[in-house]
């Protein structure tokens, strides 16, 4: 009886996974072996290992890494500070609110802010630095991406810090550890899972960002996401687009594996 009802509960889960996870991945893998003429071939994989796509993969990685690193640098202290405030959940909510606004809208807002005659340059002018080109640079791309991803990094870190039992910190201080040592030896190891899941949530989408590369970076930054978009919409070469997607899936799986909790092994 019990196993039967458990099996019953499994149905929605299995259906969901089969329809929306396994089928799409299989379709992508299938398409990745199809060339433009609809024949089965390995040409797409061959093409992926040409300098163009390898360079693109490397640069996607590099930008995703930078975005994740800067997001972490901003998010960890913020989350730490939030847990110390009185109305922490209210403050947290305020940080999350911007993520309810449509991404495209925020990107357009930055077009105005970073423009030659925008707010950012007006400020630079006031401080006597003079107008700089901000839009369509690596800086603007990383800045806007970091801004967009920050809430996703803060949430898991905040939860980890919030769950941290304060008596551990007290004990560490009582036993004579300095604030710095307490932080590195007690707080960081106990919240590392939050950091890991935050990094996953940021790094993986950052790897395939495509809209910002055009709007904010003026196609000065080309990521794998841009190439996937182009192959599906412009070239109609679904095979090549799928091949890149397959590599993205593989890369993500590898990242999940290395940043996952491998408690059994320890």
């Amino acid at each position: 009886m019990e196993t039967r009802s458990r099996n019953l509960y499994l149905i929605p889960y299995v259906l969901w996974i089969a329809l929306f996870v396994i089928t799409p991945i299989l379709l992508i893998v299938y398409y990745s072996f199809i060339d433009i003429h609809g024949n089965f071939s390995l040409i797409n994989y061959q093409k992926f290992f040409t300098p163009v796509y390898l360079k693109m993969t490397l640069s996607s990685f590099w930008y995703a890494f930078l975005i994740t690193a800067f997001t972490l640098i901003v998010a960890y202290p913020t989350a730490f500070l939030l847990t110390k405030t009185k109305y922490k959940h209210l403050w947290l909510l305020l940080i999350i609110v911007p993520s309810w606004i449509n991404l495209l809208l925020k990107a357009y807002a930055f077009l105005g802010i970073f423009g030659t005659f925008g707010f950012a340059n007006a400020m630079l002018e006031v401080f006597g630095i003079g107008t700089k080109q901000i839009l369509f640079t690596d800086f603007s791309f990383i800045f806007v991406s970091v801004y967009i991803f920050i809430p996703f990094m803060i949430l898991p870190i905040f939860n980890a810090l919030d769950k941290l039992n304060p008596t551990f910190v007290d004990a560490s201080r009582d036993l004579g550890a300095s604030g710095w040592t307490t932080f590195w030896k007690v707080i960081v190891p106990l919240t590392i899972d939050g950091v890991k899941s935050g990094c996953q949530v940021v790094f993986i989408p950052a790897l395939s960002l495509f809209m910002l590369t055009r709007l904010i970076a003026g196609n000065r930054v080309i990521t794998l996401g841009t190439a996937v978009e182009q192959h599906f919409l412009v070239t109609q070469d679904w095979g090549m687009g799928s091949t890149i997607a397959v590599f993205l899936v593989i890369i993500m799986a590898v990242i999940m594996f290395f940043t996952g909790n491998r408690k059994r092994g320890l």
């Binding site: 423009g115 196609n219 412009v234 109609q236």
Partner: protein
Amino acid sequence: MKKLIQALVALFVVSFLLIFWVDKLNSSQGYSGGNTITVYNWGGYIDPTLIDQFEEETGLTVIYETFDSNEAAMTKIQQGGTSYDVAVPSEYAIEQMVEDDLLYKIDHSKIPNLKNIDERFLDLSFDPGNQYSIPYFWGTVGIAYNPTLLGDREFNSWNDLWADDLRNQILLVDGAREVMGFGLNSLNYSLNDTNKDHLQEAKEKLEDLQPNIKGIVGDEISMLLANGEAAIGVVWSGVAADIMWENEALEYVVPEEGSNLWFDSMVIPKTAKNIDGAHQFINFMLNAEIAAQNTDWVGYSTPNKAAMELLPEETVTDERFYPSPELTAKLEVYENLGKEMLGYYNELYLQFKMHKK
């Protein structure tokens, strides 16, 4: 757990009520079945008051959707998720769609206003006899520039863009055919060239242009140029007209080596549910007064001879938008190069985009 169930039930009830409400709203406004038509057009490509007028005159309700590239439009029509009744793709896309059997033939007897169209724009190579398409607007690709920001310099040739003192001044529209096309034109090759050596040469030449390029952007190019974000843009003639509307300082020129001549035409995709309505819409848009009003609003060049007579003299004699016969002779229409060649164009375009300054 109890709270969770309560929340779920509340969500369900709210969603249900909303659906019911939307449905009610729709039926009260007449959005149901046979009395709507879905129009799929480029963004900002119709005077919105004309849609109201059409709805009033015919009692049909128009659902208006936009796209920003021919390829995106073709993909969406092919997938068939939405039943578009009228779409307005460009000539090479129409050629491809005819080949893929995605279009209905147009019944000319239902479009009496077809007589308003200038014969120069009928029976063109991409659709002989206009079996599948009726011209909507036409135009060119050229250079829009801001003389006040550039010390009154002029542009006559594509090669002027490569000047050393134009660092970080140029915005390009993000299109493989457009960018590769002017690269080829600057070398005096045809923009339909399929010789791989020529294409490679054009790509390398374009890579040399990189230091002068500020960004490669989409529709936001008109806003950026009007705001003076950059002094030069390689754009479609209509985008240039838009910008000049906003900022009179700008100029537009079709370079002497030649450029692209394009046509956007109205077609009826195979997904259409209201074929009669589609014909009514096409005929409505060809009406002289309607077309004149639309041309005035959109700013592209109209193929409608009767409408041109209603437009101000300075509009229709403006050689920037209605080029002289000598220049027109040098303009080329994009040919459908086939998927493989298009793939090659895009591959080179991607390499060009990845080339760092």
